[in-house]
């Protein structure tokens, strides 16, 4: 089932924290393909919000640093209130390409699914260190065990949601566990999802900004505690 969406109703949400060196380029890339780019500045200490605004993004600012999950949820709520029909997310550290996001949106519309998830393992992962590859593969196995979803990549920030899916998925995990929470919600709510091959370009900058292996243990702990707490 193919759908047609007004480009003005497509919103890209970017969560940013201290991304001064790259945020301008990331927004320029996104603005080249999407008219509505929303940057949620997660309490940056540098000029990230000013640079994002200058690059043409709408900027929402958290007064304190809460984490990527919280920032994405803020951006998604804003986009929905603005009448978004399709919402895409990408990372602010420059490792994603807006061209991939566009292809994911097209694939979502053609498939009639609710969510499109990017997969670096179906596409390309340039410069992915071996240790991180192992952790990501373990996360795939763990996610399959916890949610039953048969995915090839489970911690990829490239995602596209229909508005109805975005309304149903509520991110409560403020920090990195939000990626697992989104998949948990997709499985729990029976949302139709597709995986789309994407390319991720690791740079010295993005590797320094990215997750550490120890974060994986914290993510598992947060997910378990999240299930105990209401």
């Amino acid at each position: 089932m193919s759908r047609i969406v007004d480009p003005g109703a497509v919103f890209v949400v970017i969560a940013a924290y201290d991304e001064e060196p790259v945020i301008g380029q990331v927004i320029a890339d996104a603005k080249g393909r999407f008219p509505n780019v929303v940057v949620v500045d997660d309490g940056s200490n540098d000029a990230t919000p000013e640079l994002a605004l200058a690059a043409g993004a709408v900027v929402l600012r958290h007064p304190v640093n809460l984490g990527q999950g919280a920032a994405l949820q803020t951006g998604i709520v804003y986009a929905l209130r603005q009448g978004a029909e399709v919402i895409g997310t990408l990372d602010a550290d420059g490792q994603h390409s807006a061209a991939d996001l566009q292809r994911m949106g097209e694939a979502l519309m053609e498939s009639g699914a609710d969510v499109a998830l990017g997969s670096r393992f179906l596409g390309r992962a340039e410069g992915l260190p071996f240790a991180r590859r192992v952790v990501l593969k373990l996360a795939v196995v763990l996610t399959r065990w916890m949610t039953g979803l048969r995915l090839t990549d489970v911690h990829n920030g490239l995602r596209v949601f229909t508005a109805s899916a975005a309304r149903r998925i509520r991110i409560t995990q403020n920090r990195m566990a939000h990626a697992s929470e989104i998949l948990d919600e997709i499985a729990h709510q029976g949302l139709r999802h597709i995986e789309v091959p994407v390319s991720i370009r690791y740079t010295e900058y993005s590797l320094a900004k990215g997750q550490r292996i120890s974060d994986a243990i914290r993510v598992i702990g947060e997910m378990l505690i999240g299930k105990i707490a209401r």
Binding site: L53, L66, Y78
Partner: protein, 128 residues
């Protein structure tokens, strides 16, 4: 006798405290109430603690109580973590409300719809 009365007072206070925690978690109040009731039982019937210790393979009732105390400490730590998490969720909702109330748009562009809404900290997250 004095220690039995003191322990009884402490454990009796624990039960209504556990009931008051039911808004935070389903699991924790049940665990705390169970600990309180079982604790009261063994305070007044200590010989039964020895019998139970032998039954589960622990030498003395005192050792069994020590092991249980370690378990209780872990449950308390988990409860504190959940309370902290709940407070963080409220801070997040407040920060989100502030962020959504003050969108900064590039020159010549304005949001299609006003983003601000009344913030009700008592409302469930989905309704804020």
């Amino acid at each position: 006798m004095i220690i039995q009365i003191l322990l009884t007072l402490g454990l009796v206070v624990l039960i209504p405290y556990a009931y008051a925690q039911r808004a935070t978690s389903r699991l924790i109040p049940v665990a705390m109430t169970t600990i309180g009731v079982v604790g009261l039982y063994f305070v007044w019937l200590p010989d039964h603690a020895n019998d139970l210790a032998h039954l589960v393979g622990v030498g003395r009732g005192a050792d069994l109580v020590l092991y249980c105390w370690i378990l209780i400490s872990l449950i308390v730590a988990l409860n504190l973590h959940i309370v902290a998490r709940s407070n963080l969720r409220l801070i997040t909702e407040l920060a989100r409300y502030i962020a959504l109330s003050e969108p900064r748009t590039p020159c010549g562009m304005s949001p299609r719809h006003p983003a601000g809404r009344t913030f009700d900290a008592g409302a469930p997250p989905g309704e804020r």
